[in-house]
Amino acid sequence: VTADDLDQAYARLSQAITRVPSDRRELFLARLVLLLISSSADASSVMADISDAEAEAGVAAGAPNGRALGAS
């Protein structure tokens, strides 16, 4: 991505997020991320970006959504 491309995409995304009603904003971003993932050629960089974002948010990386279980 060139600097010019980044400038344009950044501005476009900013405008889009602003226009989306606040109660749809979360879903909008989730859809957008899924679209970007499904068109990405490099799954490992996607996983690394998710881990970085988790670290920034102060949450543990890779913890499953379920409840930890230990049963005999």
């Binding site: 989730a30 899924l34 379920g66 279980l69 005999s72």
Partner: protein
């Protein structure tokens, strides 16, 4: 449903007697292990606490890989006579169709997955078992206690004739998710529970829907806020799984009247007006748990006693069958003196690896279908919107790829495992296809193979390997096929197995391959088997 030959006095054939192999639990893992041993001429005693086969569909899908493993004992043909072939995936959001995807036709003997209720499948397994004199089946035998030492295992067994002791050299615990043997030995399953509770119901109803379609509804009018999965079984049985909404009170939802009302609402949604009847029901919470190791000295764990995966994708029953056949040939090699007991560690290593793969693949099903956390609910909503629009590829999140066989990339028994993308690399399950022998005759590869090891040459001479009659104490078959696969409807295509010579294990995994080499690698393997009992004794000295 009655077992074919019920009762505690059903004792035919050669009992394992003192010592020998005792398998506890007549479910898919136990049957597979007993049949796998019998195929290699090894006797075993199979105990089950019940006197009848448990009712209900429970597991619904039988994979191609399981059918291939069960082909030589005749079970696969019996299944195919009555099972419903899964031919399509259909998904709905509310009552609106998102997609209907037909599975592309694939060449080969068996389809990717077929539907058959587990109770009927177990009757077929029990029928196959009755044909084998090597198996001593004892119904009505409940294992109450187990004491294992380096020398052997003693089981305390409760029967209708009273309590008795049984000694075994090896015990295979296939006694289910609530394994009493696992508890007695103080072993624990660890992992993750997905907290969505599912009500599972077998409904007998004549429903005029397209055959063989796996249907999933998200938030349908019949189950607001929840999920519904519907599989057609044989004999007009429809298996319906209702995921309870996070907002619903579980105890109330599980009551018989509530279940009846839920089924009625869903059948009304489908326009069913004829009479219907619930013939079996249960409930289920998706979990992904496993033992750290599937071997504890002389005791092995298989099937649900060793691991539980979410049901979405048919990994439970099919991995139990895989466990049984994996362990069977290794036990046969050890009791026959062709390998040292260290070989048995590879059962645990390989099947723990398999359980991890199954958990990862079934876990995505749980994320999507049993979504309950804020993240999984948000992402599912986004994914469902995209599936019907700009990103149809996301439909694979609900697809059938979870039935693929495991890959053993780190096993000590696999010589030079190659990349996962190469279907003919060591560590991959052997693909089955219509082959042509040098004399021009055609048959499926699974029919051409005997029950032991095989040295298979594909489109190439076998380098004068001087193939031994036995390997690890088990018989070795040598055969050659052309570098082509055939299909009744299509012209010949290149074989799924690349040209070369292969060593195939009794559980139909590729153990080693020589592709374009001089055969040195295979010659060394065949004449110096791993885990050989001679080597073990030498190492001990």
């Amino acid at each position: 449903m009655s077992a074919p030959t019920p009762g505690p006095d059903d004792r035919r054939g050669r009992a394992a007697g003192p010592g020998g192999i005792v398998i506890v639990g007549a479910g898919p893992a136990g049957y597979a292990c007993a049949l796998g041993l019998a195929a290699l001429g090894v006797p075993s005693t199979l105990l089950d606490q019940n006197t009848t086969i448990a009712a209900g569909s429970r597991a619904t899908g039988i994979s191609r890989r399981s059918l291939e493993l069960l082909s030589s004992c005749g079970v696969a043909d019996a299944v195919m006579d009555v099972a419903v072939v899964q031919r399509a995936n259909q998904a709905f959001a509310g009552d609106r169709e998102l997609f209907l995807d037909w599975t592309p036709r694939e060449p080969g003997r068996y389809p990717r997955i077929v539907n058959l209720q587990q109770d009927l499948f177990e009757v077929m397994l029990a029928d196959a078992l009755r044909e084998r004199q090597e198996i001593d089946m004892r119904w009505g035998h409940r294992v109450d206690d187990i004491r294992a030492s380096d020398a052997g295992v003693r089981l305390e067994v409760e029967t209708s004739d009273g309590r008795r002791s049984m000694d075994a050299d090896w015990v295979v615990a296939c006694d289910g998710a609530r394994s009493a043997i696992r508890r007695r030995l103080g072993l624990r399953l660890t992992g993750v529970a997905y907290d969505t509770r599912f009500i599972v119901v077998d409904v007998h109803a004549p429903i005029a829907l397209e055959q063989g379609v796996r249907r999933i509804w998200f938030d349908p009018p019949s189950n607001p806020g929840g999920t519904v999965i519907m599989h057609q079984q044989t004999r007009d049985i429809w298996r319906i799984d209702f995921g309870i909404s996070p907002d619903e009170e579980e105890a109330a939802a599980l009551g018989p009247e509530a279940v009846q009302a839920r089924v009625r609402a869903h059948l009304e949604l489908l326009g069913v007006t004829d009479a219907w009847e619930i013939v079996w029901s249960g409930d289920y919470t998706a979990t992904s748990v496993a033992l750290e190791r599937f071997r504890d000295g002389r005791v092995f764990f298989a099937g649900d006693a060793a691991h539980l995966v979410p049901i979405f994708g048919g990994r439970g029953l099919n991995s139990a069958i895989e466990d049984g056949f994996n362990l069977a040939w290794k036990l046969a090699a050890v009791v026959g003196g062709g390998a040292g007991p260290e070989l048995l560690d590879t059962y645990s290593n390989e099947r723990v690896e398999g359980a991890r793969q199954n958990s990862a693949k079934a876990g995505i099903g749980a994320e999507v279908i049993a979504a309950r956390s804020p993240g999984s609910l948000l992402l599912r909503r986004a994914a469902l919107e995209l599936m019907q629009g700009p990103r149809p590829a996301l439909k694979t999140l609900l697809g059938h790829r979870t039935t693929d066989a495991n890959v053993y990339a780190r096993s000590e028994l696999i010589v030079d495992p190659a990349s996962e993308d190469d279907v003919s690399s060591p560590g991959r399950a052997l693909p089955d296809f219509l082959t042509q022998a040098p004399d021009g005759s055609r048959q499926y590869l699974s029919d051409a193979l005997d029950d032991g090891f095989a040295v298979l040459s594909v489109g190439t001479p076998p380098h004068g390997l001087d193939v031994p009659a036995t390997f690890m104490g088990l018989p070795v078959q040598q055969l050659a096929i052309a570098d082509a696969a055939y299909d009744d409807l299509e012209p010949a295509v290149t074989s799924p197995l690349a040209p070369g010579t292969y060593v195939l294990r009794p559980d139909r995994y590729i153990m080693a391959r020589d592709a374009g080499g001089d055969g040195t690698k295979l010659r060394r393997l065949l004449h110096s088997p791993p885990f050989s009992s001679t080597r073990t004794q030498e190492a001990a000295r």
